[in-house]
C-alpha cells in the first residue's frame, strides 16, 4: 500500500515514515503541499496521504482543498496529522475533503487505528 507523507518537518516525516513502513506501507514524502501536488500531477496516486496542517508555502488545508479539485481530483484517502483540535477547524478540513485526522502526538497504534477506520489495512 502506497502512502504519501506531507510535512515540512523532516523529523516528523521520518517518524511517520518509520511507523508506516513498520505497518507494511511503501512511503514517499513531500515537504509541503505544493511539492505533493507536483508529485500527484506526475501520476503518483497513493492509497492515502498523511497531511500536516501548519506548513509554509501551502498549508495542509489549502492542499486538501486543491487536491480534491480538478485537475487533480484525487480520490486518495486524506488524513490530517495535526495539533489542531478546534472543532471548527476540524470541520473545515473534513468539509474540504479530508477523511480523518490524527492528533499530534500520535503513536503507531493510533495511526493504524485511523487507517483501519478508513478501510486501509496495510
Amino acid at each position: 500500500m502506497q502512502a504519501l507523507v506531507i510535512d515540512d518537518s523532516r523529523a516528523m516525516r521520518l517518524v511517520l515514515n518509520r511507523m508506516l513502513v513498520e505497518l507494511g506501507c511503501e512511503v514517499e514524502e513531500a515537504a509541503n503541499g505544493r511539492e505533493a501536488l507536483d508529485r500527484l500531477g506526475h501520476g503518483f496516486a497513493p492509497e492515502f496521504m498523511l497531511v500536516d496542517w501548519n506548513m509554509p508555502e501551502m498549508s495542509g488545508i489549502e492542499f486538501v482543498e486543491a487536491v480534491r479539485q480538478p485537475p487533480y481530483s484525487s480520490t486518495s484517502r486524506l488524513v490530517m496529522v495535526t495539533t489542531e483540535t478546534e472543532a471548527a477547524q476540524v470541520m473545515r478540513a473534513l468539509e474540504a475533503g479530508a477523511d480523518e485526522y490524527v492528533m499530534k502526538p500520535f503513536t503507531k497504534e493510533s495511526i493504524s487505528e485511523k487507517l483501519a477506520l478508513l478501510g486501509l489495512e496495510p
Binding site: 518537518s9 516528523m12 501548519n54 509554509p56 495539533t83 483540535t85 499530534k104
Partner: protein, 153 residues
C-alpha cells in the same frame, strides 16, 4: 486560568509527547530559576481569542539528544535538524495547550534560536506558567507567555 492546572497540563502534555516520540524519560524538575542555561530557545505564538506564546528552553546537550532521538541517529545533528526537532516539539506543546485556552486561535510556525549570550523576550507578555522538567537527566523549561491587556504587538 488556574496556574496549578495549566502547569499540570503542561507536564502531562510533555509526558505524552515524550512517550510517543522518544525513548527518553521526562520528569518534573527543580526550581527553574537559573537552573537551565538556555542555549536553545524554541517558540510558537498563539494568536486569536487567547494571545501569547509557548517557549521551550534547554541546553544544547539535551537539544542534541532530542534531535538524535527523533532522527534516530547518533551523528551530531546540524542546527537545521535541531531547529526542526525542537520546533516540532514546541508546536505539539502549543497545539495541545491551545486546546485548553479560549478559542478560536491559530499557531505560528516555530522559531528557534541558539547561543550562549542572549536575552529573550516577547514584548507585551507576562509569564502565565513556568514548568521545569528534566529529560534524560538534563533540565529544560517550558513557559507559557500571555499577552497582557495593553501589551503592544
Amino acid at each position: 486560568m488556574s496556574m496549578t492546572t495549566i502547569e499540570e497540563d503542561i507536564r502531562e502534555i510533555a509526558r505524552t509527547i515524550w512517550a510517543s516520540l522518544f525513548e527518553l524519560t521526562i520528569e518534573p524538575g527543580p526550581d527553574p530559576a537559573g537552573a537551565v542555561q538556555a542555549e536553545v530557545t524554541s517558540l510558537v505564538h498563539i494568536d486569536g481569542a487567547w494571545q501569547g506564546a509557548v517557549v521551550l528552553q534547554c541546553e544544547m546537550g539535551l537539544a542534541t539528544a532530542l534531535s538524535q532521538a527523533m532522527f534516530q541517529s547518533t551523528d551530531a545533528p546540524s542546527f537545521a535538524d535541531v531547529c526542526d526537532a525542537l520546533g516540532e516539539i514546541t508546536n505539539m506543546l502549543a497545539g495541545n495547550l491551545k486546546a485548553l485556552l479560549p478559542e478560536p486561535s491559530v499557531l505560528s510556525l516555530p522559531a528557534v534560536a541558539r547561543g550562549s549570550d542572549y536575552e529573550f523576550a516577547v514584548p507585551g507578555t507576562t509569564v502565565a506558567a513556568t514548568v521545569p522538567l528534566v529529560s534524560n537527566g538534563q533540565p529544560l523549561v517550558v513557559r507559557l507567555l500571555e499577552r497582557t491587556e495593553g501589551g503592544g504587538k
